[in-house]
């Protein structure tokens, strides 16, 4: 186990390093720069800005300086949002995205797992068919449609929910609904098929034959085994929801990291691009790493090498 963890840690660091290096050279290869605008700034002002942020140095030197700085925990200043440091922006905005994300993960699990079970237990009945239809729609409909429709009906038409920002609990309803819609329906389908699989196992029949009540056999035996694929899905889903969705943040004006990630690229804010990329890469690698460890804990049959 220790050897495995060491190996995985080494691979994780290497992955982040490769991602950072590739991003650095790719973003510099793309045309444009942080100080391009409809109205050109004077060559002197541009030169002064580039000198201030070290953009006038050869690219490889910039790369080495950047690596040296991040090893000291210095992610540099944002090139566009003057006066703000990249790390401060990430640390202010990530918690906002993460909060919406965590609530969405919880909603997805709390709704998805039971509904999936209900569908499996009632296989072939109307309730099962209805759940399957909704779940299929949920997977097929993109999040911006869910956002826009919920905003239109609950915000503009019915005036039940506010549409801008994240001030009260009411503000969370629509973003969380939009963000959790897809994962919830995905979990429903996952849970249903895995539950059906488990319900057909010999040990379930044995339990029934031994006179174990239906509730106990379902909750104690079936659910425990059926939930494993959901845990597998939890890893990528957490990474996806925690880091914020560009679309949902834009539509509901949520000050999260998802929007920052996209706008840093269109703004050619090199420092922000690097900072957010390294942060997200680290988060992804860390979550995948944790999920692998959790597997081992949940299912001792899994052998980590």
């Amino acid at each position: 186990m220790t050897k495995y963890i060491c190996k995985r840690l080494f691979m994780a660091v290497l992955t982040v390093f490769v991602v950072a290096t590739l991003t650095f050279f790719l973003m510099n290869a793309v045309p444009g720069g942080p100080y391009e605008a409809e109205k050109s700034i004077s060559p002197q002002a541009k030169a002064a800005l580039e000198a201030k942020f070290g953009l006038d140095k050869p690219l490889f030197e910039q790369y080495l300086t950047y690596l040296k700085n991040i090893l000291h925990g210095d992610f540099g200043p944002s090139l566009k949002q003057r006066g703000r440091n990249v790390i401060d922006i990430i640390l202010t905005k990530f918690p906002v995205s993460a909060k919406v994300g965590i609530i969405s993960v919880m909603v997805s699990l709390l709704v998805g797992v039971p509904v999936g079970c209900i569908a499996a237990v009632n296989r072939g009945k109307i309730s099962d068919s209805a759940i399957i239809v909704i779940a299929t729609v949920g997977i097929a409909v993109p999040s911006f449609v869910v956002c826009s429709l919920s905003m239109y009906f609950f915000g503009v038409k019915l005036r039940w929910l506010p549409t801008v920002g994240l001030t009260t609990w009411k503000h969370y309803v629509m973003p969380v609904f939009s963000l959790s819609f897809y994962p919830t329906t995905y979990i429903v389908r996952l849970m249903r098929s895995s539950m059906l699989d488990v319900l057909g196992q010999d040990y379930m029949r044995t339990a029934k034959a031994k006179g174990v009540s239906r509730a106990v056999s379902l909750f104690k035996h079936a659910l425990r085994n059926a939930v494993l694929p959901v845990v597998t899905y939890l890893g990528p889903m957490m990474a996806y929801t925690l880091t914020g969705s560009f679309i949902i943040e834009k539509v509901f004006t949520i000050p999260g990291l998802g929007g920052e990630f996209v706008s840093s690229i269109t703004n050619r804010d090199y420092m922000m691009i690097m900072g957010t990329t390294i942060f997200l890469a680290t988060l992804m690698v860390a979550i995948n790493f944790l999920v692998d460890i959790v597997y081992k804990i949940i299912d001792p049959r899994i052998n980590l090498k």
């Binding site: 793309v30 045309p31 444009g32 720069g33 391009e36 605008a37 409809e38 109205k39 050109s40 700034i41 004077s42 060559p43 002197q44 002002a45 002064a48 800005l49 201030k52 200043p77 566009k80 949002q81 003057r82 006066g83 703000r84 922006i89 905005k93 918690p95 906002v96 909060k99 965590i102 609530i103 919880m106 699990l109 797992v113 905003m151 239109y152 503009v156 506010p162 549409t163 801008v164 920002g165 994240l166 001030t167 009260t168 909750f219 659910l223 425990r224 939930v227 959901v230 845990v231 943040e249 834009k250 539509v251 509901f252 004006t253 949520i254 000050p255 929007g259 920052e260 269109t266 949940i298």
Partner: protein
């Protein structure tokens, strides 16, 4: 399941730890508006954006301001005068001016602020636009002289003197420009660039001061109790929603969460045309096309003119752009101030538009010009292929599609190339294109601000237009202090530009926005700014 429950509990705990976004107000008269997304900066020296400039108008006050009618009005300076040669300007500040933190405001704060803008280490993007006439600016900005040698001084706490190296007929407009707002030396020195990102260190001198800034969400400004004219302020505060998506801002307006929005989705415009809360106001600026004059066939004046004449501007402005633009038959539209008095547009070309609004006659003329240039000039024989580059936002793409159809009539096969925004401007600036869209909105109402774009060495001369007579006319307009001569020179420059089709004006910009009928006392300026400081909510 047993494993899942602790996991859920852990998530719930995490959720509790993470900070909540606070906000909200009770009982106060707060006007909620949307003028744009998160401003890149609210440091007056560093700002170059319109939305940032709009907020700065409310948090800072320059020496002079622009009033409701677009005229120069007193700001921090109560009175001012210039020397006979126009080279020395003396501003007399109001008595008892204070910063928002209550500290005394001195004329030396202006000296500090202007020197800071000129200092190359500040890297102020608008430095040369606003300070170019000031004595020794070039040397300071090039890093060859100390910022303290800039031609500004404060003989006493209430007098600010500016010495110019060249007479600047529109210097008052520059003195009212947000870049030259005073900044508080103590907070800037103590906090560096970061002074302008936190409400605690954001000390200002305007009618409002920042009390809360949640990047990507909102900015709250409250009435500044130390502002000299605080009695005229009726609002307790203004909440600026930092919404990026026009559909989101439109929803906010519909739900009443915002009483004013700048970003209205273009697809909603037809349904809003009869809505009394929907406004379309002209601003000084022109949507135009650049033809790369250094590349064939655009080195041929006839081709450029033909392309210009083949556009039905009325159709573009009123049908394609749904009446949110105004057809442009001149380069300089309405609203620019003629140095000799009156509206520059009204006095241009003897009061007659340069391009006739008779489209059929124009098209016939365009065909002839194409034939004279050696092309077929006919839709039956597309013997000239042109690539038109644009970014995809607003009406740019539909205008490109229209041009494909319109220029086909004169024998042109137009290929449209959509380029991502961040790559588009450097590409256009480098002259790496054949034809491209362009646009300009005035920073101040002196015509030089826009007509000089076509000066051969101008950094924004993306069409690489190079005409000696045009340059000579501009040179005269820059050097003379005689308003009549200056006006004539500027008009001559536009005559030459339009005669040689140095660029193709298509439409004049407007601002279209939604303003609740509950708001009174606010106004919109021709520079694209909204003034909420004296507004009230019914």
């Amino acid at each position: 399941m047993k494993k899942l429950i602790p996991m859920l509990a852990l998530l719930l705990a995490l959720c509790m730890i993470l900070p909540a976004c606070g906000g909200g107000s009770g009982g106060e008269k707060i006007l909620t508006v949307q003028v744009g997304p998160d401003p890149e900066t609210l440091d007056p020296a560093l700002n170059s954006a319109v939305d940032g400039g709009n907020m700065l108008l409310h948090t800072f006050e320059c020496l002079l301001t622009v009033d409701k009618d677009g005229a120069i009005a007193p700001g921090c300076a109560e009175t001012w005068e210039k020397s006979d040669d126009g080279l020395t300007w003396t501003f007399h500040l109001r008595d008892g001016l204070k910063w928002s933190d209550g500290s005394a405001f001195k004329a030396s704060d202006f000296v500090y602020s202007w020197q800071r803008v000129a200092n190359p280490e500040t890297a102020a993007p608008y430095a040369d636009t606003v300070l170019w006439p000031v004595e020794n600016f070039d040397a300071v900005f090039a890093g060859e002289a100390d910022p303290s040698t800039l031609g500004v001084s404060a003989p006493d706490d209430r007098t600010f003197v500016v010495k110019l190296s060249a007479a600047c007929p529109y210097f008052e407009s520059l003195a009212a420009f947000a870049t030259l707002s005073p900044v508080n030396p103590a907070t800037v020195e103590a906090n560096g660039d970061a002074w302008a990102v936190s409400p605690a260190t954001y000390i200002s001198n305007g009618p409002f001061m920042i009390t809360e800034w949640v990047p990507g969400s909102h900015i709250v400004t409250k009435a500044n109790p130390n502002y000299w004219n605080k009695k005229a302020i009726k609002l307790d505060g203004i909440k600026w929603l930092l919404i990026e998506d026009s559909n989101a801002s439109y929803s906010a307006f519909q739900t009443g969460e915002a009483l004013f929005i700048k970003d209205v989705p273009t697809e909603e415009i037809p349904s809003l045309m009869n809505n009394s809360e929907f406004h379309i106001d002209p601003i000084i600026g022109t949507y135009y096309l650049n033809l790369n004059c250094t590349k064939a066939p655009f080195d041929n004046e006839k081709v450029r003119k033909a392309l210009s004449l083949a556009i039905d501007r009325d159709y573009v402005a009123n049908t394609i752009m749904q009446g949110t633009y105004v057809a442009a038959y001149n380069f300089m539209g309405p609203g620019w101030a003629d140095p000799a008095g009156g509206d520059f547009y009204a006095n241009a070309n003897g009061g007659k538009p340069y391009i006739s609004s008779d489209y059929d006659a124009n098209l016939a003329e365009a065909k002839k010009l194409m034939q004279a240039a050696g092309y077929s000039g006919s839709a039956d024989n597309l013997d000239l292929t042109i690539t038109y580059s644009t970014n995809d936002s607003g009406y740019h793409k539909v205008v490109a599609e229209y041009l494909q159809e319109a220029w086909k009539q004169i024998g042109i096969d137009l290929k449209v190339e959509i380029v991502e925004w961040a790559s588009f401007t450097p590409m256009r600036r480098a002259g790496d294109y054949m034809a491209a869209r362009n646009g300009w909105v005035g920073d101040y109402s002196d015509p030089s601000n826009m007509i000089e774009l076509l000066y051969s060495s101008n950094g924004n001369n993306d069409g690489k237009y190079n005409n000696k007579d045009f340059d000579a006319a501009i040179d005269i307009s820059r050097s003379t202090m005689d308003v009549k001569q200056r006006s004539e020179a500027l008009h001559k420059a536009e005559d030459i530009l339009m005669e040689t089709a140095g660029c193709i004006p298509v439409a004049y910009y407007t601002d279209f926005y939604l303003q609740s009928s509950k708001i009174t006392g606010m106004w919109h300026s021709a520079y694209g700014y909204w003034y909420f400081m004296y507004a009230d909510i019914k």
